[in-house]
């Protein structure tokens, strides 16, 4: 699937004193099986952008194309294109309404017009993807724990087999174990299905573990779009956009400023650790070499 955002602009309540321009002529392309992170401070336009990609908003200007089909039109072709994109809003468990977990996860497939067998198959598969016990199928989703409800809501979207999945702050409100678990499930799903994954998140440390490309939004404009290491280690850029670099980068930059020959684009704590050890080992080797030269 190829997603093409063409010169997209969006103004909320135009023509009134409360009008707000959320996106200014944003253009970008997302290709097959890409894993992209979208970051920016609150109000930067992240939610607006991904809602457009899912075809939920009408552009003020510009358009969004999915495999060449403009998604905003009221045609069957456009509707079919929109159905290939899944979107989970923040706190997706808020959308739960069915009486059983099974029916909740089956809701999407039902609306797609699938038959009973196909629906059951999709539900089992989706529940397996998020590691929810099949025994929970007949329970009311409202009796699940917060983390379980989150996974059920995610399953209900996965069951529609989207070719592109957008997740808005998927780990918000979860504890560290819950966060790690959910992201692992999402990653497995993406690798298995080869779908496009778009993650909107404030948590750059988390994002660094999953995506290969990061788009930075600031006040409705794209201010960066590149490989994750390059973008997330660019302190000046992130700071101007109201964001912090990952902690590991802060550490490595401090060392770099003090004269260490460290790479500053190591984003994860374990990478930073390896980098420090590598540079130190380099020093030790150099020191030994120097000493052996001096000894002669």
């Amino acid at each position: 699937m190829l997603i093409h955002v063409e010169n997209l602009s969006h103004t909320y309540i135009p023509g009134t004193p409360l009008a707000r321009v959320a996106l200014h002529g944003v253009s970008l392309k997302v290709g097959p099986s890409e894993r992209v992170g979208v970051v920016g401070r609150t109000g930067s336009g992240k939610s607006t952008l991904v809602q457009h990609i899912a075809g939920l908003l009408m552009p003020t200007e510009g358009r969004v194309l999915i495999d060449g089909v403009p998604v905003h039109e009221r045609t069957t072709v456009a509707r079919a294109a929109r159905q290939r994109v899944g979107l989970a809003f923040q706190y997706p468990e808020d959308q739960i309404f069915e009486q059983t977990v099974f029916r909740e996860v089956a809701f999407g497939p039902r609306n797609l017009g699938l038959n009973k067998t196909e629906i059951a198959e999709r539900v089992r598969w989706a529940l397996g993807m998020v590691r929810l016990d099949p025994a929970m199928e007949s329970r009311s989703p409202f009796t699940l724990s917060g983390g379980e409800m989150r996974r059920a809501a995610l399953a209900s979207i996965l069951a529609m087999r989207p070719e592109a999945l957008i997740l808005d702050e998927p780990t918000a409100g979860l504890d560290p174990r819950g966060r790690r678990g959910l992201l692992a499930r999402v990653r497995t799903w993406q690798v298995e299905t080869g779908a496009i994954l778009i993650l909107v998140s404030h948590n750059l440390d988390e994002l660094a573990r999953i995506v290969e490309r990061v788009i930075v939004l600031d006040r409705g404009l794209v201010v960066a779009d590149g490989p994750v290491r390059q973008v997330l280690s660019n302190g000046a850029l992130l700071s101007a956009a109201g964001l912090d670099v990952p902690q590991s980068v802060t550490l490595l930059r401090a060392l770099h400023d003090a004269g260490w020959d460290v790479r500053t684009d190591r984003l994860l704590p374990e990478e930073a650790f390896e980098e420090i050890v590598r540079v130190d080992a380099g020093h030790a080797t150099a020191l030994r070499a120097l000493q052996s030269v001096e000894a002669r």
Partner: protein, 265 residues
């Protein structure tokens, strides 16, 4: 995302904004009654002039005021055509089985005019008085009824909280309807059965969210020392000023003038 609904409060510092909400509500009520009591041209002119003066004093943008009339467009048309064709009197023109009379034309026009006045008067009230002020005014006006056991203060608090959460509720509805759209719910279906089916996936989550919100809020209120509406004091007190008395007297004078004009005809 905020929706700008017609008739909502516009913060400003006009003469009208500064008046006591009780005076404004009372005057609005009286004016609306007068709109239906007026029959002579002189009364209409006096009433209209007064409303125009009030509109100028309110600093409300004229276009915004006129736009509020959009809400009664169809009702107005319906009323006009109803009176046009059914009022007996001097016939002007025949349209098939129905006749348009001169009286019908005048009555129809008058009814539309009254309707417009009603809408503009209530818009002026809501433009210049915030929902909180309106609730406060109502609370104070009805306070004596609390003596006979009516839950006036409780109702006022319920009203204030409902008003406070109205925008949040709208945002919630927006988010849930989008979330369900993503899952294939067709909110704009022309098929009435499908339309109805799209209600449950909206209603249930919004209800659940509303209850959760209510529970959270109740807990927070308890934590902040709320123990019922008895014995609470208020930051803002409603106080009648000289301007309020003046405004009330002017409104009274206009009302008496119109009633006098009607009597003498």
């Amino acid at each position: 995302m905020n929706l700008l609904l017609p008739g909502m409060y516009m913060a400003a510092d006009s003469a009208l904004h500064r008046l006591d909400p009780r005076v404004k509500m009372g005057t609005a009520l009286v004016l609306m009654v007068l709109a239906f009591a007026a029959h002579s041209l002189a009364s209409y002119v006096l009433l209209t002039t007064f409303v125009i003066v009030v509109a100028i004093l309110s600093a409300a943008p004229p276009m915004a005021l006129l736009r509020t009339l959009r809400t009664i467009f169809w009702l107005g048309c319906l009323m006009f055509f109803f009176h046009l064709f059914t009022t007996p009197g001097q016939p002007l023109v025949a349209v098939g089985q129905l006749t348009i009379t001169r009286e019908g034309l005048l009555t129809g026009a008058a009814q539309i005019y009254r309707l417009c006045l009603l809408v503009i008067i209530s818009a002026l009230l809501t433009f210049t008085t915030s929902p909180a002020q309106l609730a406060h005014g109502l609370e104070v006006l009805f306070k004596p009824l609390a003596q006979i056991g009516l839950p006036v203060r409780e109702f006022a608090m319920v009203l204030t909280i409902a008003l406070r959460f109205a925008p949040a509720l709208l945002d919630e509805i927006d988010k849930i309807s989008k979330a369900q759209q993503v899952r294939g719910v067709d909110l704009y279906s022309r098929n009435p059965l499908r339309q109805m089916q799209s209600w449950v996936p909206l209603f249930v989550p919004i209800f659940v969210a509303a209850f959760r919100r209510a529970e959270d809020l109740a807990t927070a209120m308890e934590a902040r020392g709320f123990r019922g509406t008895q014995h609470r004091t208020r930051l803002h007190q409603l106080r009648m000023t000289r301007q309020d008395l003046q405004a009330a007297l002017i409104a009274l004078a206009v009302s008496l003038a119109i009633l006098g004009l009607e009597r003498s005809i």
